[in-house]
């Protein structure tokens, strides 16, 4: 899929231009309890370039499907709430123009 680059687009539209082979097994897991109890800034919601982290009622909602495998969340999370690894079996994003 491709997107005419005229006006601002949503992150999901940008992610949809990529080739994916998403695994059914998540390669990242988030300890939502920590997000809810310990974290007030929740910078992952702004710094994850794929927008995998969104705010929910009283915490974080995480979806691994659009992950670009950059590792930012693992490093910026101040509460070690992110259990991070790369996807298995060549799954995940498939860069053509990287």
């Amino acid at each position: 899929m491709s997107v005419q680059a005229l006006k601002k687009i949503k992150i999901t539209e940008a992610l949809n231009t990529n080739i994916w082979d998403v695994d059914s097994r998540p390669h990242i897991t988030v300890d939502y309890e920590k997000c809810r109890k310990l974290c007030d800034k929740k910078i992952c919601t702004l710094l994850c370039p794929a927008g995998c982290y969104t705010l929910s009622d009283d915490g974080i909602l995480f979806s691994y499907e659009g992950c670009l495998e950059c590792g930012t969340c693992r490093i910026v999370c101040p509460h070690e709430a992110v259990k991070w690894d790369y996807p298995l079996s060549g799954r995940g994003v498939q860069y053509r123009f990287g």
């Binding site: 491709s2 997107v3 005419q4 680059a5 005229l6 006006k7 601002k8 687009i9 992150i11 940008a14 992610l15 231009t17 990529n18 082979d21 910078i43 919601t45 702004l46 710094l47 370039p49 794929a50 927008g51 670009l68 495998e69 950059c70 590792g71 930012t72 693992r74 490093i75 910026v76 690894d85 790369y86 996807p87 298995l88 079996s89 060549g90 995940g92 994003v93 498939q94 860069y95 053509r96 123009f97 990287g98």
Partner: protein, 428 residues
């Protein structure tokens, strides 16, 4: 599952520029090498800004210039300070060029292919989980419970050094050691690229932009021209971003793409890919204490080998060349009979004699200067303001000094501006 039989001389973790260059050099010299790559193909997990310096690669791969998937040779270098829609630009044009644009996915694919042609085995779709050790000596790798043994391991796992961390060879990566790069690849007619950027066929542009292009975060934006695409992206220092970020990083990049002059330059463009990657920024300050231990050598991003000069970045050539030097080390250690640390210490020596460590040492100071937020916001504002006063003449035209004095009012003193500029010039 690792369905590999036999014993190998060398296991390389990761088929990026560093890993494949090590594998290629070793295979050419008769070593039995296997490269384990987590991606579906070599290069499918690689992402960078867009430009590679050629010379070190030509030394490693004699047929490089003829065969490699080069997009355009960079003949136009542009550096801009941008505030609002106003740009103050320094441009260098030369018919000679030492760097080219390329898709790293394809370039890494090419390097892996060269390694394969030289005799290396490239195993894809396999994630390495750990090092395998016997009596504290690295003797192979572990993947999903399977062990693959070898006499020596080359760790080219990239900037997220999960394996080195698990093994206690480096502490956990910190935000201050890396920057986050995001990039949009935009397809644009070849003729339009050449017309809009003033390029002849096969000529390329590398463009760095600082100012209010990164949502107030220390960092910068970049634009590279490929044959039929343009790469537009930005890099932000992660530690500062953690403190100051107020808008989603993708939206900051979208603000840039859809603002003047980029919206016009990229008109009719079609987004074909969006990606992100971390980039090492601390150079020698993030290298493992030892770049070698018994049975192990660390190369490329995993070793922190990347140089950010503020107006350009060198990563791929550093990575590939460190892989090449690791290969030379292994060849030498083999002739001495074993791969214990004392024999692998040649690697440190070769690195120090090469451009890699010399360059990283020389530019150590820049890393600190590049983080000052003045450099990214206040100074571009001042300089663009001065340019506006000088060039947008209505009736009277001010002198340069008058313009500067007026523009720095309330922002900084003339003296501190001069001192800062001098320290920058000295560091560069």
């Amino acid at each position: 599952m690792l369905n590999i039989v036999g014993k190998f001389d060398v296991v390389v973790v990761g088929a990026g520029p560093a890993g494949s260059s090590a594998a290629y050099t070793l295979s050419k010299n008769g070593f039995k090498v296997v490269v384990i790559e987590r991606g579906r193909t070599a290069g499918s997990k690689n992402l960078y800004g867009g430009r590679v310096y050629s010379k070190p690669l030509e030394e490693i791969y004699p047929e490089f210039k003829r065969e490699a998937p080069i997009e355009r040779w960079v003949k136009r270098e542009r550096f801009s300070m941008m505030v609002g829609g106003e740009l103050l630009t320094l441009e260098y044009y030369s018919r000679n060029s030492t760097s080219f644009t390329a898709y790293l996915s394809r370039l890494a694919g090419w390097m892996a292919q060269k390694a394969e042609e030289a005799g290396a085995i490239i195993v894809t779709d396999v994630r390495v989980d750990d090092l395998y050790t016997e009596d504290g000596i690295v003797k192979g790798i572990v993947s999903g419970g399977d062990v693959l043994k070898a006499d020596v391991v080359v760790d080219a796992e990239g900037v997220n050094r999960l394996i080195l961390e698990r093994h206690g060879l480096v502490p956990k990566l910190l935000p201050r050691q890396v920057a986050l790069g995001v990039k949009e690849t935009i397809r644009l007619d070849k003729q339009k690229i050449e017309d809009r950027f003033g390029l002849l066929p096969e000529e390329g542009l590398a463009w760095f932009i600082i100012g209010n292009v990164t949502g107030g975060l220390p960092g910068g934006a970049f634009l590279y021209t490929n044959t039929t695409t343009v790469s537009l992206g930005m890099v932000v220092f992660l530690e500062e971003a953690c403190k100051k970020v107020q808008k989603h990083v993708f939206d900051i990049l979208e603000d840039l793409r859809t603002s003047q002059p980029f919206s016009d330059i990229l008109k009719d463009g079609v987004l074909v890919e969006y990606g992100a990657h971390l980039t090492p920024e601390a150079g020698l300050d993030m290298a493992p204490k030892k770049l070698y231990t018994d049975g192990l050598l660390v190369v490329g991003d995993a070793a922190g080998f990347l140089l950010n000069l503020g107006y350009t970045v060198r990563g791929v050539d550093f990575a590939a060349y460190s892989g090449y030097l690791a290969a030379k080390t292994i060849i030498k250690a083999h002739s001495e009979g074993n791969f214990k640390a004392e024999n692998l210490s040649v690697y440190q020596k070769l690195l120090e004699e090469s451009f890699i460590i010399r360059e990283l040492r020389r530019h150590r100071k820049i890393a600190k200067l590049l983080r000052s937020s003045e450099l990214f916001t206040t100074y571009p504002e001042i300089f663009v303001d001065v340019a506006r006063k000088l060039f947008n003449i209505e009736y009277t035209s001010p002198t340069l000094l008058q313009s500067i004095r007026e523009s720095i009012k309330g922002k900084t003193s003339l003296l501190s501006l001069i001192v800062k500029m001098l320290s920058l010039v000295r560091a560069l």
